[in-house]
């Protein structure tokens, strides 16, 4: 049986840019290789200017690699038809302010060859998915940052691509908007979409991604399945619900008796500030 081609395959990507000083080259990406299999959610993390966006642009054919190859589902990404199966959301997208939400999706849908009833159904379906049905006829000039990111995600999904490339999908969005976008990524993962996202918001990447790559100064410094990368191999975590003081005391004495391990920490697990914020703001809205 033929094996499915990787959704994304970047091999030894190198990208040099000319700086304002003549003949001086700036290496933005230096020998990066990434392989993302269909259905995976891959997060590329790194500080600003580390080469994340350039890697994504090379994958989309927006910049040409100095050396190395990029392929989408086995097709060279410099070919226009490799983008039949890709949706892209750039960082801080503006879109056309003179168009409404529905017109925006219609425009991108038509570019992908959709038309007639099929296009209209797709527009409605996507507006529902990103929770913008109420703003379908409002011009994008009046959209908030979070709404713009969501309509951006909808346009990326318009031709129902198998691969989604998201560049800082939650940049500049408030925690509620950010949560909505994350929930959308979860939904997409459930639908079997491959997602390649880059962000410097590590907590979010940890929450949604199953594979992670860390890029620094143009080089891939660490890569692999998230669980493997973040697990502390020589420690074990046990979380108990409604444990009595007696039980805790017994566990303490058990550990003391055994000479095979030592207790590192005992205490109450903490929620994140983000979860607390969401819980409190959602509660306020419901009052």
């Amino acid at each position: 049986m033929d094996q499915l081609p990787p959704a994304v395959e970047i091999r030894n990507l190198v990208k040099d840019f000319k700086t304002s000083f003549r003949r001086q080259l700036l290496r933005a990406v230096d020998g990066v290789s990434i392989k993302i299999m269909p259905g995976e959610v891959y997060g590329l993390i790194g500080p600003n200017g580390s080469g994340k966006s350039t890697t994504m642009k090379a994958l989309l054919g927006l910049v040409a690699p100095t050396s190395g190859q990029c392929a989408i589902f086995g097709m060279d990404s410099l070919r226009v038809d490799s983008r039949n199966d890709v949706g892209f959301l750039p960082e801080n997208p503006y879109f056309y302010k003179h168009l409404s939400g529905a017109e925006t999706l219609r425009f991108y849908g038509k570019l992908c060859g959709l038309k007639g009833k099929l296009l209209e159904e797709r527009v409605s379906e996507l507006l529902e998915l990103v929770d913008l049905e109420g703003a379908r006829d409002r011009r994008l000039g009046g959209y908030s940052k979070g709404m713009l990111q969501r309509i951006g995600l909808a346009q990326a999904l318009v031709q129902d691509p198998r691969l989604l490339i998201l560049d800082e999908p939650t940049a500049g969005v408030d925690p509620v908007g950010s949560r909505q976008i994350r929930d959308l990524i979860f939904k997409l993962r459930e639908r079997g979409k491959t997602v390649f996202l880059c962000s410097h918001l590590l907590e979010q990447v940890q929450e949604v991604c199953d594979h992670v790559g860390i890029i620094f100064q143009g080089k891939m410094v660490k890569e692999g399945p998230l669980e493997e990368l973040i697990a502390i191999e020589d420690q074990t975590e046990i979380i108990l619900q409604d444990a009595s003081p007696e039980l805790i005391s017994s566990i303490h004495s058990l550990i003391e008796k055994s000479h095979s391990g030592s207790l590192v920490r005992i205490g109450k697990p903490r929620t994140t500030l983000e979860r607390l914020f969401l819980r409190e703001t959602v509660k306020d809205q419901q009052r």
């Binding site: 054919g61 927006l62 750039p90 503006y94 056309y96 038509k110 570019l111």
Partner: protein
Amino acid sequence: MSSSTHSLGSHVSRISVIAMHAFTQLVRMKVFYFLVVFGIIMIASNFFDLPQHDGPESMGLNVLRSIKSWSLGTMTLFSVVLAIVATALLLPKDVEDRTLYTILAKPVPRLDYLAGKLLGVLLLVFVSLMLMNLLMTVALHLRTGMVLKEQLQMAENLGWPQATIDAMKAETLQQGPSWSLQGAVFAVFLRASIMASLALLISTFSTSTLFTTIISFLIYFIGHFQADARDVYLQSGEAGQGVFTRLVSLLVSLVLPDFQLFNVIDAVIQGQTLPLITLGKLTLVGLFYALFFTLASWFVFSEKEF
């Protein structure tokens, strides 16, 4: 940078989607307000009845020429300004707003994008010219009727023979709405099309709308006297004999359109007929430059990185 093969949808449908979008974008920028200015100019031109030194049979003809002259002049100005500024605006705006990324990240060949943008601007120029043309034709038709009525009354009072009246009538009608006048409007459109495609080429490597606009206008003005300058140079002694000189001259005429070819519009204002062969020649010139500049734009744009 991109090679094109089987992308979703056809080239024609993609180009027309981008063209209609560019047209809508420009219309929503409220560019049609200039029609009000055109209307005022049209009304004003009705009062420019210059003193005439011809016989009484020519009375009122100057007003008809004035209407045509002001209308075609304004059409030229508006169409060229619209063609250059709109084209110079659209491309950098898409890059700045990063909307270009979202379009090129779809299966859209770069040539389709450029052709769509250009056709959108041309559609806007065409619609604008048609609206101005409609206003001019209606005004000219009404005014020609008025002039004819005055002339016939005068001829009747003076007891002119029928043959003289018919000659006068023919001369007046020649100054009214005619197919030649429609041809002149089409020539105005062709000239604006050349300028739009030239602005498209400049905007593919320029870094600002202002630079594109200034260079385009500069080339537009140079285009009005480049033929003279070339002729003078080629005919000055030995300069015209060398192969190199002739090649340079050919290159100059390839890059800089000779806008003197469009002087036929002035002849139409004077009431002369625009021969079909001349209009055909102008169409070929317009098509050649529009295609040449668009393909050159594609050549630059296909290698551009964002």
